[in-house]
Point group: D3
Chain length 314, copies 6
């Protein structure tokens, strides 16, 4: 099987891919065809079935794994597969791990690092609260390890939520060493918890799309509610501590217009929002630069950075 990022114009496509999207259409001239999007862990690719009802074109649905034979062409500067034959693949013919974008880092190792940070929390209430989710709740642990941190922007891959959480937690750890006003237990707990609402705001892969609950409430409020529900299970959890922790979660987007209902009012909340912004921006650049073909190439106007951007030589 040829991975999508290895395909070249003029070659043949042959292999099993995840069907991410499928829709009937007609050409300008009135002829029926089908738009398909193929996905594997290296990316996605447009495909067309120009003769939908011809021999060799079997039935299949969105999110089926499909065995495809076709020609790789170029349309308006992008590759495209013209599908000649297609059939639904059977379980066992393919390894699902090949079809989802995944973190380049080892998920299990990253999870262990999170656990070590949890062990280092001295406040017993905060440590217990962390363990309720990260040690005792297997369903949560599974979701947390497999979730992306976003639908379309940075960290949009399996393990992305974990990778972002760990990177941000390390940055917060650095802050606590540089700025003595910071309460390490509170900041690191907030860091580890800051995006847990995303396990419910986005559905799991391969769909990775907003849930009804996510649209209505958002991961910020959902995360604060998870803290609230967890703290209720711990006898005598100090009310002020719960409020400070929830405040950090609520304020971590830094600005009301980014969906935080409160501006950061504690040093730890300020630090968390700075760390989140820093890690999001650096990861976004990392992903953008990975797509650059030449060193020193201007990559075009980017809306997040409100600027044309380019890489320097390292």
């Amino acid at each position: 099987m040829k991975f999508i990022n290895e395909m070249r114009e003029g070659e043949k496509a042959a292999g099993i891919y995840l069907c991410k999207h499928k829709q009937a259409a007609v050409t300008k001239n009135g002829k029926s065809y089908e738009n398909v999007i193929l996905q594997d862990k290296t990316g996605t690719l447009d495909a067309k079935i120009w003769e939908p009802n011809s021999l060799g074109i079997d039935d299949f649905e969105v999110l089926d794994y499909i065995d495809v034979i076709g020609d790789i062409t170029s349309f308006q500067g992008s590759l495209q597969v013209s599908i000649k034959r297609v059939r639904k693949a059977k379980e066992g013919e393919y390894d699902p791990g090949n079809y989802l974008p995944v973190s380049e880092k080892n998920v299990e190792n990253m999870y262990q690092e999170i656990l070590e940070y949890i062990q280092s929390i001295k406040n017993p209430y905060l440590q217990k609260l962390l363990k309720i989710y990260y040690v005792e709740d297997n369903e949560f642990i599974k979701a947390f390890k497999n979730h992306s941190a976003a639908k379309t922007v940075h960290h949009g891959f399996v393990g992305g939520l974990l990778e972002h959480t760990l990177s941000l937690t390390k940055l917060c750890e650095y802050y606590t060493k540089s700025y003595s006003i910071l309460n390490r237990d509170l900041l690191l707990t907030a860091a580890i918890f800051h995006d847990i609402g995303k396990t419910k705001e986005l559905s799991a892969f391969p769909a990775n799309d907003y849930t009804d609950e996510g649209q209505l409430l958002g991961h910020i409020v959902m995360g604060a509610e998870m803290i609230h529900d967890g703290a209720k299970k711990i006898p005598d959890f100090p009310e002020t501590l719960e409020n400070e922790l929830k405040h950090c979660i609520l304020a971590h987007h830094g600005e009301l217009e980014y969906g935080s209902p409160k501006k950061p009012a504690l040093a730890e909340a300020v630090a968390l929002s700075l760390a989140d912004n820093t890690d999001a921006k650096m990861q976004t650049l990392t992903e953008l630069f990975a797509a650059a073909k030449r060193p020193n190439e201007w990559l075009g106007y980017n809306r997040l950075f409100e600027s044309n951007i380019r890489k320097t030589d390292c």
Copy 2:
């Protein structure tokens, strides 16, 4: 006793008032004196003790009821009491009901109207949720009846939260008759619940100030959490319904920059935010116009309305 809004320059002040504020100070010339703010249900008034250590000036604290004798003067266009004698009053010498600003409407009648709206809710889960707070929780009922709806702006008086909630609920009831897309049960439930977080965001009278919890979380998120805690007590409360109701609470300020973590996404959430904005603005004008001395007088630039404002003859 003369109420504060009846005082006139040149008269004597004599009676018992609530001491809202007290602070030692020195004049430009280095002489010690004390700033005091007196309060009764008709308003507040600056007072000065020019001779703090003289005979007849007894000790007292902030939030004590104090028996005052002094001269009413005018300073930069505002009245001011020069206190000659003062002593702490004893319980029984005064009626606490005279010292807090109160709704001009009957609190008990308004509460009964709320209960009637609750009876009219057909969805059993929503009706039960309303009753958990408004019928079964005596501490909440007491707080809800006595709270203001704000520290400084509109409805800043005892019963203000109730008055605002009822007025807004009636407006929402009108909406449901005009716009058939609205789900009456959801909208009226959201209306009755929309500001319950304020019972925790602000402390009770006479302090009526932001709590630590209120500063950290805000009444919007606190209200949604109260819905969440209430729904947990009701078996089989539909998850989507809980989310829709919490969404209405979260979105009721209408804009992210006003502290709502989500923009209204349901028609009921849009309607609730319109009703809240309407009632707040009309009540603010009512309170501003009450202070106008002459018909058709321009009252000066108002920050909420971003305009100089004036009353018309009715």
Copy 3:
């Protein structure tokens, strides 16, 4: 004749439609064809004439009524008619009332309700001013009944201006009962007059497009000028009253950036802008929800509401 909203892919189209738009074009491959937009009261539909010069394709112009035979296909998710035969229809072959979007409510009944509100105005100058337009000016009455309230957004149908005006007037009537600071005569007069400038800002159906005058002045200033011209015809019309009424018209968009040259400075102007905003938003949602196929379906990001939106079950 099959109405546009009843057409289905794969069927034949056959009937008389209004030609809203017509333009010659060439395909990517250099072949000439024609883009046509068909309209009836249920909506509009793209159509193509792939063989413009073939037999059966007669001449016709924009805004002609045309008798069409063709095939209904689907292109990029939208229906499209491939026109095989077309000829200009003759007067008498069609009922013009079938070709324009119209209010679902009875125009004559709504107009009578407006007249009843006018009768209830006690101030004789304001009542007379209303009658100059709504009772004595037949050309205005005809335009007011037939106009839309907008080119593309809410109430964009025949009778839409009347429907919006009546709904908003009723809401203002409700306000006057809830908020005693409001002068009913002034507010209801302003409500009934608030959008009369639209009878000149937009041309009549079927064009329903901005006029030169509308582009240069806008309906807000044009409406205030109509008030001014009307008041001139009434002896001793009080100057302050005219100014207050014009202020309400000028300020009814509520914000300078929405085209009001003054922010609302009177309670009636504040109320009018709240009512206008409320009715516009609720009607927009009503029209959006009418297009939803499934209950609880997310309808996509909406620019007015700055949110993805969905309907609740009622």
Copy 4:
């Protein structure tokens, strides 16, 4: 008589001044006194009557001319007069021309220049419209010559409206020579008319304050209405020409948030708003720099320019 801008700390004040403001007050120590503002054509000055009821302090009202004897002191860096004796002056004792800030330029000469521009307008309708106000309407001519262009900002002096109008008209004349797309008749007519609404928005000197009508409608809409009323008196005044001219008036603040209900849509409207902005900014700087004591001195943060500002050596 010593003019206000010639007074020096430590000297005696003795002469007749306009009383711009008068208000009773009490000191921090409870003593009654009176705040007075004196005005002559060179500026205004704070004054105090520390012994309001003493011998030599006669009764007087706001906007009376008063004969004052007192001491010139300095308070927080500003001069202040401590009034020892004061009496109301009689007509004939003073020249009113000495008590209002006036343009440094000759009002009559400036008015003649405006008339010459009016003569140069070739379009007969526009020339006639200009003459209806600037030649035939004596009340208007008197108001136009004596009005300021603003209450507090640039051109806030007698003749200021005329001076600003002439300066801006000359700049527009320059534009028509540089940019051939501009219609000279339309642009110059709009320039001469652009601020005529100010003759009604502000009351005449010495009050120079917003009128009720001005607060409700603003000079932009009032100016457009004056154009409308004037055009009605001219048979066959072309409707499009009236609309274009009113558009220029309506759009001359350039931005909706500055109170223009329409953005400039014609080249002449764009040019007029540029000229207005240019003349306002340069005149504001001229007035600010006139107050500077030393060359190259930084004058402090200025809100209009959003910057600390300073003069260069010329």
Copy 5:
């Protein structure tokens, strides 16, 4: 040779054009073709090579001059050339002056006018600084005469930078006559220098695109640096004068959000930013109106003016 603005649908295209752009593509049906953009001094035109590998289609590159034979067709309302034969033209077969958009004014005459302004500067340091670039630096002079003032907006043609600089300088000269606070030497020097950074921010024609340096630094800072480097070459150049001149360059966009690192703080800097804004807007309208087909035609919404715009009759 037929210039691009003289081409008509249905005719033959035959002549030499500059190839501004060339890219391989495939049709929706999978067929390879090539997109080409042809340019001459009258504009640009889309062209297609539908049979890239056929006889008569020779090799060529972007920015080659190519001899083309083809058919002129219309696609979606725009003309398009279907290229049948094409070959690279040899030097001598064409006049490069015919292939770039050029100022309608005489470049040499405009340059002489700039020199006259330079001669009129009395301050010897400023005059010397101007001469270092405009008289002594031949490479700069050549670039300045040939550069556009922009990539895509106003003055985007050969000589555009010179034309804009001269027009703005004349407007500043007018200002100095009207507003006596302005230092003429400083303002005119700043005017002549204000956009010199553009000679490095944009590459020369025919590319006329942002340079790497231009993307990183921008013409504002690059211009200030050129002033700095020039002043260094002049003994005893007064430091304050250099700073004032650089300030004018840095602040000439008027607002921080338009890329000026400082708001104008000197009257000359305010005047320069007003002149730049004025000339840019009037020239943009001139170019937009040149494209209008009919008088009084509305040209559609324009983003710079945030309005639909139209021409008046002149």
Copy 6:
């Protein structure tokens, strides 16, 4: 000598202080007095000379060291010294180091750390450029060690510029370890250079105020110019490298509205602006919290953080 932060109401003040400010004034009652601000390294304090011409009150000037005897009182909640005797102190009577706010960290050690970072830069051009300023330019080194990083906000003390630069450089070093896209040489060089313009934008202590040059150009452009001048002294300094470095300096405020003429377009520029923002915010909080009297005390609304803020227990 008693330091200012050790003074208590009711005690005597006696010792030598720096006179930061001195201005004559009169009381509301017309009596002359003098406002003085005293400064030592622990803060500043208002003082009054109520009897300026009395015995024991000698002459002195702003920025003199003065020997003061007086009473410590409290005015509107702040301490104030009523000066009874004062004389100018002689050199030798005081240690200047006691009179300026200074970094709590060792300046020499911090400077050595900067030098170590410079040694670690591998790119020879960048290292040489750093050494031109930080090793070879003694005047610069002295200024850099003694400067504050701001007039009024964070790091406003002797050594503040150095402390901020070092803290930010360390954070950038951390970034380079976490995010492999970053060019360490470029980022660390930019970090060390980012605020060098402040050595010229602000005058040295004790004045610590904006210079004329600083007002006109700002430290961002001045810093880029210093890079430019330094690079000129190094043969063959790569042009692209100079531009990248200057870009980082120009863009380090992150947003155009904060005075950066370019948004960050390189990953290193993004990282530098994030580090600057992070260090500025954490240091501001550190300074604010140092002033808090009680743990968990709300410190009031802060404009930078747009929130009421409070400390947590650490």
